[in-house]
Amino acid sequence: MEQNIRLSHMSHWKTVPYRQIGNFREFYYEDRSNNCYYMDWDRILRYHRATGYEGIELAPWDLGEILGLFGTPAEYTAFAKDHGIEVSGMFHGCNDSHIAGKHGDVVAAGKRAVDTLAAFGGKHLNTCPGNNYYGNGPLDVEGLRNIASCLDEIGEYAESKGIAVGIHNEFFCVTNRENHRQLIELTNPKYVHYCLDTAQVALMGDDLIDFYDTYRERIATFHFKDTADIGVPDEIRYDRDVEIRDDGHRWFWEPGEGILPLEELWRHMRDYGFRGWLTVEDDGSPDYLAAMALSSYYINEKLGKIYR
């Protein structure tokens, strides 16, 4: 039976240096550790399939190595397809989009990202709208309009390629608690969608359920993760290099391991009838394979009883 929600997983594996390890046993005996289990795309993609994912979302900073190993996006996509996995989307960052003089460069970079994703066969370009808050915020309305203008232009181009640009607002982004909803309103709903990162919105201090209900028509996909920190104080969100903490504190947890009302959100998604890709994001986890399995179990066995 076709399901309403298709699970994808964000690729935070950093560099995967081999396409396929043919001498796995021999390689294992070099240091008799589990390192060799995380070094080739063949096994990483098998883990996706085995833990119940149909898709993978690519990180743009990995593309150099991916293309070095596979030659072309089509070759990677075919390899993934052989493992039962599709490329669902890719992340992108619109750095300097708040600066009017950078408009051309930002849009050109965005269009290149759209072309790259199209070559991989992906459908969602989940896009951080701007720089970090530190050194750039607070923004005036003109700055917000500049960002919206970039997103509109990239989004219009993306639509022509069958790709949805979705705003993905990090909790330390220049568009933040005080104006991230305003940014959404300033963009053209025809071309600019939203990728709801459940943890990021809560970390910013917004109400997850209210946010979903307000923007559900624009939410094209999700970055689905949990957190144990709702409403992080301004002095942290607006500080330098916020994402990685000196003491190893984690902002993000696997769905079900934090405190977000994910079951309530899922009921709202059911009531609205959300259909499409939902990308689990396990960044910050010390063990991605375990995190993939934990997340998949929670979604299939817990949330899946509500809606799937």
Partner: protein
């Protein structure tokens, strides 16, 4: 000789469980204690601006990181001294291959020069005397930069940048060295012709595993280049590049057969007794950096390096240049048990 441990042992690029720890400051703060407990009082750092772009300033591999977390580079150097690294940063390795991904030569040369100058500034401010620069990006990436041009013109352009950097390093009181990993265009013995194009102030980085993989004899290289060696890297390998992995996109991950190219000292096949003999014979008294690059187990690599330094690389035991490292390790271990002495020469 002054011994040093390279924090290039910490693999940030590849994914295995618990990699996430390596992005936070607490990990690096503790690493100083582990290195010091392993008997090393100096460190080498790889200068890696890629972590700047992601805002990972807990990773002390650039000037930005050091100033973000410690106020100044000198502040970071003082922190190191207070935490067991009493000799501070002794060497900085700058590998500009990151900037080759654009495939645009002027961008590569410009970015390489900019960040190499920053590495030199960082060295000067940290009281570090050596910056060693990877001569060219990997063969595969270099090919994209060369495009329709020639390798000769490319190397001339790179040599021009290095000459400028050497002058800048000289002003800052820093020695600039060139490193020729086995995947560069000046691998192995090819470095000799390239060095001829560089100012006399530019010294050589003798990296044992990289030379061996490229088909050169590290001991012979030491003898041949005596007087022009700025730093020696003790790296080990058991890899023989029969399938020309050095020409591939990820040359340190041979596609024909997965292997850990760089291993802990003593865990490979390099004849270190011969290298130690060559260094002694030529009167080398500079920096020796132990670099178990991209370690699978960092604490273990530190301790293995220390054991290797004390018992194998040069010890009170008879050095037999025909011995492999493993054979020598056994011999030195037996000798130590008999003598009960701990060689002090490398405790400087």
């Amino acid at each position: 000789m002054n011994l040093c441990f390279s924090t290039e042992a910490v693999d940030l690029d590849n994914q295995a469980p618990n990699r996430n720890r390596r992005e936070s400051r607490y990990f690096w703060d503790e690493l100083n204690h582990l290195i010091a407990a392993g008997g090393f009082c100096r460190i080498e750092i790889p200068y890696e601006p890629k972590w700047d772009f992601g805002g990972r300033s807990g990773i002390p591999r650039t000037k930005r990181s050091m100033t973000t977390k410690f106020g100044t580079v000198a502040g970071y150097a003082a922190f190191l001294r207070e935490n067991g690294i009493t000799g501070g940063i002794a060497c900085i390795h700058m590998n500009p291959s990151l900037f080759a991904s654009s495939g645009i030569l002027p961008m590569y040369l410009g970015a390489s020069k900019h960040y190499a100058e920053e590495a030199v500034e960082t060295a000067a401010e940290a009281g570090c005397g050596i910056v060693t620069l990877t001569a060219t990006p990997p063969y595969f990436a270099s090919g994209k930069l060369i495009g329709d041009g020639t390798e000769e013109d490319f190397l001339a352009a790179v040599a021009g940048v290095i000459a400028d950097l050497a002058a800048y390093a000289g002003e800052k009181g820093v020695t600039l060295c060139v490193k020729n990993e086995y995947w560069t265009l000046v691998r192995g013995e090819k470095i000799h012709d390239f060095v001829e194009k560089l100012p006399a102030s530019v010294m050589l980085d003798v990296d044992t595993a990289n030379l061996k993989i490229a088909g050169a004899d590290p001991a012979e290289m030491i003898r041949k280049c005596a007087g022009r060696i700025g730093v020696v890297h003790i790296t080990d390998t058991a890899f023989t590049d029969t399938e020309e992995a050095w020409k591939t996109a990820l040359p340190e991950y041979p596609p024909a057969g997965a292997t850990k190219v760089f291993r802990d000292p003593g865990d490979g096949e390099i004849d270190f007794s011969g290298i130690a003999a060559a260094l002694e014979e030529t009167g080398y008294d500079g920096l020796v950096v132990f670099n178990p690059k991209d370690s699978c187990d960092i604490s273990r690599s530190i301790l293995r390096s220390r054991w290797f330094a004390d018992h194998v690389f040069r010890s009170g035991a008879t050095v037999n240049s025909a011995m492999t490292a493993k054979e020598n390790m056994t011999a030195c271990h037996s000798a130590k048990e008999v003598s009960g002495g701990r060689p002090e020469w490398n405790r400087i």
